[in-house]
Amino acid sequence: MDSNKQTCSHLFDARGINVCLGGRRVVHEVDLALRSGELFGIVGANGSGKSTLLRGVLGFVPCESGEVRFRGEDFSSYSGRERAREIGYLPQDAECGWPIAAERVVMLGRLPFLAPWGGPAEEDVRSVASAMASVDVAGLARRPVTQLSGGERLRVLLARALAGNPALLFADEPSSGLDPYHQLQLMELFRGHVHANGATVVVVLHNLALASRFCDRLLLLNEGRTVACGPPGEVLQPGHLQSAYGIEAKILESGGQRAVIPWRRVEK
């Protein structure tokens, strides 16, 4: 079974990724192998290369070296449109340049599906409606997205990312700036998306409690290098936390679930 897992092709498989930004290597030899139907967390201290890793494997910044395969094929063999139909991306500090109605923002997620010069078809309209319903923003459809609260805006932008019903969704620190209620809501949405559609969600997180509670697997980065990768229980060990974050954490176990609570700073 285990060996079968190794040989079965991953949905998304990035190997030996190196990314340089401004002449400095930010990501060193990181592997990111994602299976279908998992909620995958990327954790690490500020500046540990989490966002850059995502942007690198997605091709938003050039990788110095490394190989990326999607569904077993070389990622670069996919056109931008083909990628966009399968892979969603929710950036950090997601912005909206104009006060567009929420519904129209979500419709932007259907751009890769529209015919050239064509307007939205019935299917696009349905997808938008269901994406908005799934994150509970259907009532905000006509509100300008710039007038929404932080949590509302984030959910609208998430609906935008979900409107294409992507097999793989990358979300970069979506929970920062949300209150605990909305943080939990967000993680439940991700989990729901994974369960309902068999999709894979990769989420960059700062909140270790959320990471250990919701994620199937975690990748812990420190200064652009992999510290550990695996189930949260394996990754969020005291030694790893100390070397990656310079913290000591209290680990609470209750009913088979673990919660990691950062407790105090220690020397790295």
Binding site: A84, A94, E95, R104, L108, L111, V125, R142
Partner: protein, 341 residues
């Protein structure tokens, strides 16, 4: 089902704005053909148009009609270029004039006109190509800066620098020009006008403006995606490199020959997209067509006003657009400051 209904509403909105603007453009164009040293009714315009040889017929065919068409072309071009630049920079303060693109186009045209750089080359192509090259250089510089800095303040300051540079280089060209008329001609040409233009101007500027506008229109979806930032746009399958190239090429193709034909006319690209944006519900793609029509309408009306204002020497079109546009720009700055302190 409320959502499809909303969708139908939005579709209706996207048709009614261009349609309404088109109707206004047609009416204004008829008015523009009617006024002049002698006022004509639309029926008379039509009658004179088909009367060969008579002075009034010549005036309608060879003066009023080219003037009207050129105002529409240049206004439409400046409008769509402004909308494209605002969409690309995601900022309502972007404008080809403020960003120094008009200045670059003027420099390019002046270089061709007064240094004999293309002496012997086909006259009718030399001027728009000069404007095109100048506009392309300035647009490229600005787009490159826009990629480096996100702050619009920096971008506008860069535009100020580019404008100052092109103005200085234009003066330099005039210093070296052997033609003693050059200074006077250039000074007035830079003020911008469509008066006394001929079909020759439309012949050389029109095709470029049309191609440029088409290139910009093809960028519409990219501009929509760019609303959510560059990374998101890329994740939606938009090639940012191609989008940037499209915006640069489109704006240069439009602004360069338009400036070569009508001089440096500012603020159209600033004012028009800003006014029309709420009407198209802030959609950067729909704003393109609307701004082209709106720019045409604005410049046509400016040209009508220029002819109606009873002064001994006709006002220059660029003077009028600046008189209207500069206060608007100030108001916009203060309003945006209040919105985003």
């Amino acid at each position: 089902m409320t959502v499809p209904k909303e969708n139908r509403d939005s579709r209706r909105g996207s048709v009614s704005v261009p349609l309404g603007l088109s109707v206004l453009v047609v009416f204004s164009a008829v008015l523009s053909l009617s006024i002049g040293a002698v006022w004509l009714s639309p029926a008379e315009v039509l009658r004179w148009f088909f009367t060969p040889g008579e002075p009034m017929g010549v005036a309608v065919r060879e003066l009023r009609l080219p003037r009207t068409v050129l105002a529409l072309l240049v206004g439409g071009g400046l409008g769509i270029a402004g909308a494209a630049l605002q969409g690309y920079t995601r900022n309502p303060l972007a404008d080809s004039g403020l960003l120094g693109i008009n200045g670059g186009a003027a420099l390019g045209a002046v270089l061709v006109l007064y240094t004999g750089l293309l002496r012997g080359a086909a006259f009718t192509l030399a001027i728009p190509l000069g404007g095109l090259a100048g506009a392309a250089a300035a647009t490229f510089l600005i787009a490159w800066l826009a990629g480096k800095v996100r702050s619009i303040q920096t971008l506008i300051l860069a535009g100020v620098a580019v404008s100052a540079l092109t103005a200085a280089l234009t003066s330099l060209v005039l210093n070296f020009s052997p033609n003693p008329f050059a200074t006077q001609e250039i000074v007035f040409w830079l003020l911008g006008s469509v008066a006394d233009r001929s079909w020759e101007h439309i012949g050389f500027a029109g095709p470029f403006i049309a191609v440029g506008a088409a290139v910009i229109l093809a960028c519409g979806r990219g501009l929509q995606a760019l609303t959510l930032g560059e990374d998101t746009a890329a994740s939606l399958g938009i090639s940012l490199g191609r989008l940037r190239l499209g915006i640069i090429a489109g704006c240069a193709l439009v602004v360069g020959p338009a400036t070569a034909a009508a001089g440096a006319i500012g603020f159209v690209g600033l004012v028009v997209p800003h006014i029309l944006r709420p009407l198209v519900r802030y959609d950067p793609a729909k704003l393109l067509v609307a701004s082209a029509l709106g720019g045409a309408l604005l410049l046509l009306w400016a040209d009508i006003l220029v002819r109606l204002i009873p002064v001994e020497q006709e006002l220059k079109l660029g003077v009028l657009t600046a008189l209207l546009g500069a206060p608007f720009f100030l108001w916009l700055i203060f309003r945006l400051r209040r919105l985003y302190p």
